[in-house]
């Protein structure tokens, strides 16, 4: 098992690692607070309309640009819409978009990576050169270019982000597949006459889930930020649908109305921070060797 010494994450998960995840969470206060924040946001997403104090699209020009008050908890924007309600409703767009982008990128990347690693040869070469091409560009610039070419729209923005995100999953999955392919128990099942599909699905994929999960949890925060960034630049969600990046963009034009950019900015901050804390904990839990790094 010389391979595992240099590629720790590639080890097949051992049963004892599946120790109580809740206990693991409890012993990590930072991760616990991260999980708590995510739980709060989950409630906000599910119960948004009950929490919001106003219709997020209702304009009230007489109250435009009011500072935070009892009536408008986070103040109002340039058209007199309640910012608190807009931030709440925006969570229902921004967080699911970030999660979905990563989920889709992981699905696409994993499939292609496994295919490349398992098939090898020309297919491997072709797929890896394609990932090279994607990885050669700065991701956000490439996403901007794709989103701009497709036209400003939420679906296009997500497509653009998936397009720049999948190669890192494909790369990882290919590495995992290549190393597992050499493991004795895989060779054993080949010897026993298992079909290729069975080996891929039953032997290799389950062993790749853990590194995949680690990468994905750490990435989700980045997904939320990247989606917000595209919307900030006007390439994501189109108005009047509230979205955090677009809300910050509105506020950036009126710095004297500090509340416009501050509250949606804080929303992004808390969510990304929480995802990162939880992601770190998941990483530690699944791979103790990386703890503290």
């Amino acid at each position: 098992m010389a391979l595992t010494a240099t590629m720790p994450v590639l080890m097949p998960a051992r049963p004892e690692r599946r120790a109580d995840p809740w206990r693991a969470l409890r012993t990590r206060p930072l991760a616990t607070s991260g999980a708590a924040i995510l739980l709060i946001w989950l409630i906000v997403i599910l119960a948004g309309p009950r929490i919001a104090t106003h219709d997020p699209l209702q304009q009230s020009l007489a109250d435009r640009l009011s500072p935070p008050s009892r009536e408008y908890l986070f103040g109002t924007d340039k058209l007199g819409r309640d910012l608190f309600s807009r931030v709440i409703y925006a969570a229902r767009v921004s967080i699911p978009v970030g999660v979905m982008v990563i989920a889709l990128a992981a699905a696409v990347g994993t499939t292609l990576g496994a295919l490349a690693g398992f098939a090898g040869g020309a297919i491997d070469e072709a797929l890896m050169r394609v990932t090279d091409v994607f990885l050669a560009f700065p991701p956000i610039i490439l996403a901007l270019a794709i989103a701009a070419a497709l036209g400003p729209d939420l679906k296009n923005a997500m497509l653009a982000l998936v397009a720049v995100w999948w190669p890192s999953y494909a790369r990882m999955m290919r590495g995992v597949t290549l190393s597992i392919k050499q493991q004795e128990y895989v060779l054993a099942s080949v010897a026993m006459g298992a079909g290729q599909g069975r080996i891929l699905l039953r032997t290799i994929l389950p062993n790749a889930v853990m590194p995949l999960l680690v990468l994905a949890t750490v990435d989700i925060g980045g997904g939320v930020t990247a989606a917000a960034a595209l919307s900030y630049l006007g390439l994501g969600v189109q108005p009047p649908t509230p979205e955090w990046g677009a809300l910050v963009s509105d506020g950036a034009e009126a710095l004297d109305q500090w509340w416009l950019a501050t509250f949606p900015g804080l929303a992004i901050l808390t969510v990304v921070l929480a995802f990162n804390l939880v992601g770190d904990a998941v990483q530690d839990f699944l791979d103790p060797r990386l703890r503290g790094t």
């Binding site: 340039k78 701009a148 189109q238 009047p240 950036a252 009126a254 109305q257």
Partner: protein, 546 residues
């Protein structure tokens, strides 16, 4: 070209040119001597360039016979001159500019202009009436957006170097004011031809100078254009041969990343004046003791345009639906977005002769009437349409994209489901020009201070109405009224005809006016001489260091 390179070039050149100019002027030059010329206050104190902060995304070309939109106005004002112009602070008064005097024939068909002698182009060539003839013919033959200005003109003749004769197709009460439009500027025909310009029929295909004229200028104005980097900056330096010298010899129009960056640049003193800030930002600047604001009412409007093309959107193309949309807009709310803003009922902005009175002729929001009209038109449950506008355009401090959100909300209350298409200039502008829109928010303000600039373009036979809104109404009653008005010399009778035409347009025209904002130019009090003007915004050459 780096900033440092840029500053060295024109400055050294300028000193030399200043000397030449003083020597050429002759008046006591021998006594003063060339060295004294270098050390004049103009060269020492004003050495710092005038920096204008401005989003220049709208600039496609700076060729005077092609240019349109907004930013070009100050560049053309700086680099070129027209025959006549209006008083900077009184758009109603026409004054001589490159023409010394002019005469109108008794039948009001022939205008004879006498040019000022001794006017020089930057190349050293002397301006003659042939240059004007070349420029005017080129304006017509290039068939670009401003070519319509030449429509009333039958012929341009240059019988001698200082005489220019313009013959019209029909008597035209508007023509003299239209001649003040900067698209009627003179270009140096000799240099223009060297760079591929032509005034012959077919110029729209054969003229190859437009690109070159975006980087260089060949006019008689106080400045010469020294560079244009799209979306970044436009630079101008003093024209050594100009007949009116600028107070500050170098101008930089510098783009900022966005309006808040532009506002900060003004507050920090990185720019001397900021053009294109938001209304809310200008309000915040009013408390700053280092900053003053020059204002002038906009002679134009921001309008909601609607397509008449049923293949684009059947509902919007229905005249009854369009009338309903006009009554669904909350005009009072939109006006409240800016202090001092107005709502012109129709095409003629308030402040120009022939404007309608908003109190009696303006649309009022009436949702009950809208519901009834939509039901009558066969859309009792409303309908869907797209509303396009520019993501970055700000007219008179009003963000077009913000207006789009307001209009969307207003129409939503009437059961009309609007999808917004708020897009960058380079995507939105071609779409708008091609009429590839259901609903659109666009703006227009006069290129010369006369209602006909708006009536010609937006009226039933106008390029905007036909190409952008696909309105085909050559027999509309307004057409005859406007034709009659154009040839009516008596001002009172003409204004009444213009009003009558607009009343005929109110319900039928495929647009409704949303707001007539105020133009504001916040500037640092370290500069003086900024005169806000509703057609050319301001003249950079009159701005001096305080």
């Amino acid at each position: 070209m780096t900033k440092a390179d840029h500053r060295v070039g024109p400055d050294t050149a300028l000193s030399r040119r200043t000397i030449l100019k003083l020597a050429a002027a002759g008046a006591g030059a021998a006594a003063i001597g060339p060295l004294a010329g270098v050390r004049t206050p103009a060269a020492a104190q004003d050495a710092a360039p005038l920096i204008i902060g401005r989003n220049i995304d709208d600039v496609i070309t700076l060729d005077p016979q092609v240019a349109g939109e907004e930013t070009f106005t100050i560049v053309l004002r700086g680099c070129y001159d027209t025959l006549i112009t209006t008083e900077p602070d009184d758009p109603g008064t026409i004054i001589p500019w490159l023409a010394e005097s002019w005469e109108t024939s008794d039948d009001a068909l022939t205008y004879t202009f006498t040019l000022k002698p001794g006017i020089m182009f930057a190349s050293g060539n002397e301006l003659t009436s042939a240059d004007f003839k070349f420029s005017f013919d080129r304006l017509r033959e290039l068939k670009a957006l401003p070519a319509y200005l030449m429509d009333p003109v039958a012929s341009v003749e240059a019988p001698d170097p200082l005489t220019l004769v313009l013959t019209l197709n029909a008597p035209d009460a508007v023509f003299l004011t239209a001649l003040c439009s900067s698209n009627f500027s003179a270009i140096d025909s000799a240099v223009a031809k060297e760079h591929g310009a032509t005034d012959q029929p077919g110029a729209d295909a054969e003229d190859t100078a437009v690109e070159w004229l975006s980087q260089n200028s060949i006019g008689t104005g106080p400045y010469i254009l020294t560079g244009f980097t799209p979306k970044d900056r436009i630079t101008m330096a003093a024209n050594p041969t100009a007949w009116r010298a600028p107070a500050i010899p170098e101008v930089i129009i510098q783009a900022a990343a966005d309006t808040s960056a532009l506002k900060q640049m003004l507050e920090r003193g990185d720019v001397d004046l900021a053009w294109g800030l938001l209304n809310e930002q200008i309000a915040e600047l009013r408390d700053n003791p280092d900053i003053a604001v020059a204002t002038t009412p906009m002679l134009g409007f921001i309008a909601l345009g609607m397509t008449c093309d049923a293949s684009r959107n059947e509902a919007v193309a229905n005249p009854v639906v369009r009338q309903a949309i006009k009554q669904a807009i909350d005009y009072d709310g939109i006006r409240s977005l800016q202090e001092g803003a107005l709502t012109p009922p129709s095409l003629v902005p308030i402040g120009l002769p022939g404007a309608l009175d908003p109190a009696t002729d303006g649309f009022k929001r009436d949702l009950a009437a809208v519901t009834a009209a939509l039901a009558e038109a066969g859309y009792p449950d409303g309908f869907a349409a797209t509303l396009a506008t520019s993501a970055t355009e700000i007219i008179g401090g009003v963000q077009l994209s913000l207006l789009a959100e307001k209009v969307r909300a207003d129409l939503a209350e009437a059961g009309i489901d609007i999808t917004l298409e708020i897009e960058d200039e380079e995507i939105f502008r071609p779409k708008y020009r091609a009429g590839d829109i259901d609903l659109v928010i666009g703006a227009w303000y006069v290129g010369y201070p006369n209602p006909f600039d708006l009536l010609d373009n937006w009226g039933p036979t106008g390029n905007v109405a036909i190409n952008r809104f696909r309105w085909e109404a050559p027999d509309h009653p307004a057409v005859a009224l406007l034709t009659e008005a154009r040839s009516t010399i008596d001002a009172t009778a003409r204004d009444e005809l213009v009003r009558e035409a607009q009343r005929a347009l109110l319900l039928d025209a495929p647009y409704t006016m949303l707001i007539q904002p105020v133009f504001s130019y916040p500037y640092r009090t370290t500069i003086t001489g900024l005169v806000a003007n509703p057609t050319w915004n301001f003249d950079p050459a009159t701005i001096a260091r305080a």
